[in-house]
Symmetry: C2
Subunit: 382 residues, 2 copies
């Protein structure tokens, strides 16, 4: 089957230990005089926010600091940030953090430049005017927001996580310094790595995967399988660096090949029930893979081969054994593996699935699903 036309775009990437020091120079090159820096209290406590202040100072840059955001960032936090960006006369947006500060920073850059409210841009390709330059510094090796075309913002009134997808949401520069990962607590190492793993799997089996994304997906899967256990035993820079490579590779893939049902459901659970994104995938990814098996047996066998370290007799048995082994791996991490571990009220599931059925990520899931099929899967995962 001929490929239809695919688009592939990435930010400029600086990758490596101590690359953080380039943050000021990068902002300067993009025209900064006053940087709007978005981060959160976790990174303040770890000392990284102060470190960025110093780097901006060295470059003789002024800044305004904004941290009034939470996990699953809210629409009203974006609106406030955008107002402050303008009032403070900022010219470049910088984010330091995991998915929440980075997605919030994208929303702020969007509303500050395109006006209206963040809701106006829900969906794909609805942004008309250019955004201010963005320099992003990821701190979790998970979300990939520093690489991707996605921003996920919660609409508080509707209890929905909105997916905003546009080429213009790719930051200009991503600075990935694995040393920042050294201050991550164990549970954040796990949830970030599993988020990245889910990006890699869903982008690999996506309907619009193509060779430039597929190689990065497989690289990410391989690195996470090999290095997550080591990172939990001894989170040294060498090992954390491999997880940062994995997360970045997975983001290169999903930004351009999109995601699937696991993420559609994760967004729905995050919006309706405020479930933390990184906790969803250990519960839902294996059943989603099993659901997708009839549509992408060969590709799930490729993944199974990496998880198992070898092929079984058939593609189907390799794929299935891989999914089983993945479930064992998750269980050994003592994290949530059943839906009841993260959702308190089972009666919310139909609404969760109805909302997920309208999520943009579901469009690229390899096997079609309506909300009832997703509900059936969720009931089995309960």
């Amino acid at each position: 089957m001929p490929m239809t036309v695919r688009k592939f775009s990435l930010p400029e990437i600086f990758f490596g230990r101590e690359s953080l020091k380039y943050a000021g120079g990068c902002a300067r090159i993009l025209g900064a005089e006053r940087v709007f820096l978005v981060s959160d209290s976790g990174l303040e406590k770890a000392g990284w926010v102060e470190k960025v202040f110093e780097i901006l100072e060295t470059e003789k840059l002024d800044w305004f600091y904004y941290s009034d955001i939470v996990a699953n960032p809210r629409d009203f936090q974006i609106q406030k940030g955008a107002r402050l960006y303008q009032e403070q006369g900022c010219d470049v947006v910088m984010a330091l953090g995991g998915g929440s500060p980075m997605d919030a920073a994208k929303g702020i850059a969007l509303v500050a430049s395109n006006g209206g409210t963040v809701h106006d841009y829900e969906g794909a390709n609805r942004i008309q005017r250019p955004l201010p330059p963005m320099v992003f510094i990821p701190s979790t090796a998970g979300s990939g927001s520093d690489i991707s075309q996605f921003a996920i913002i919660t609409d508080v009134r509707r209890c929905v996580k909105m997916s905003i997808i546009s080429r213009t949401l790719v930051p200009n520069i991503s600075i990935i310094d694995p040393l920042i990962l050294g201050t991550k607590p164990r549970d954040l190492i796990i949830s970030s790595a599993i988020d990245a793993f889910s990006h890699a799997v869903e982008s690999y089996i996506s309907r619009i995967a193509f060779p430039f994304t597929e190689v990065q997906s497989l690289k990410a899967i391989d690195l996470i399988i090999r290095y997550l256990p080591r990172a939990l035993k001894e989170p040294c820079p060498d090992v954390l660096e491999q997880l940062a490579i994995a997360s970045t590779a997975a983001a290169m893939a999903f930004s351009n090949a999109s995601l699937g049902m696991d993420h559609a459901l994760a967004h729905s659970l995050g919006g309706m029930l405020d479930v933390v994104h990184g906790l969803v995938h250990s519960v839902l990814l294996p059943p989603v893979m099993r659901y997708n098996l009839p549509a992408c047996e060969e590709k799930l066998a490729d993944i199974g081969r990496i998880i198992l370290g070898k092929r079984r007799r058939t593609s189907r048995s390799t794929a299935l054994a891989g999914i089983e082994k993945l479930e064992e791996n998750f269980a050994s991490l003592k994290i949530a593996t059943r839906l009841r571990d993260i959702v308190s009220d089972r009666s919310t599931l139909p609404q969760v699935c109805k909302t997920a059925s309208r999520d943009a990520c579901l469009l690229t899931n390899p096997r079609s699903a309506d909300w009832e099929q997703m509900l059936e899967m969720c009931e089995e995962a309960w």
Copy 2:
């Protein structure tokens, strides 16, 4: 060993059959009103230049057409193009062609915006001011200039191919339409694929290779080994598309990990003796790989495994058997395999090697070499 900081950047890529139709819209988005189009007589004859005129017309864009360039494009052709770009009031540079029109277009964009002559920018990172927007449409699945930070221009007075390397030489948009490859003659299919193969090998074993480039290098090697023989039997769109994917993947890698001794010598041969770039690699790549073996046995074994379809007992034997098989493959294509096939006067070799020893590509070759070591290798390849 910790990785030092690596930079990774790519153009925005449109890949797929009939993606050519986006050329006008892309130029328009980048602010075009009058496009400076660079191409050559081969593409005129095949009808593709006319096709681009039509696409620009549909988008109501004006253009100036420049084709006064040759293989191994010359410095004076760049200067003339840059003068015309300004006189004609153009605002976007578009290239349609193989490495020569694309590199020439980069040189023209550079001189038109930064002044002086193209010689002023020889080497790495010597460009100060931004270039006009560039939309490139490759026609050969080989050079990768539509993706890369490189432009190679011949200094006629010194008989040297100058490497100009800068982030700003990455085009804004690369439009890769495999249908354009359908009009390529057999010998151009071969030489382009071998050029791309050499990009993939040299970037994979480069001193500054890193995971994001390595996966693309290996993908390119695999695709060329599998699809070049098929393309020669039956150059149908499905197969040519795979070679276009390979060439693009190889370019993603070498643009960010650079190249090695084979390219240093190829540039020297091109500048001194006007040897066509695509004919050099079947002669020099195998001996260069053999020379590099002590420095990168494992990596050459990875390549050997792909060429052979399996590993031998040791890394060293896998690597060596892979190189031998590669030589057999080249010989079966009835192309040059000895240096005497492409160089008439053996006494030029010392100067060829001295010039190559100053080429920027040699810096990233995995094993150091002075000009005498290169000469020894060239004598063996004679």
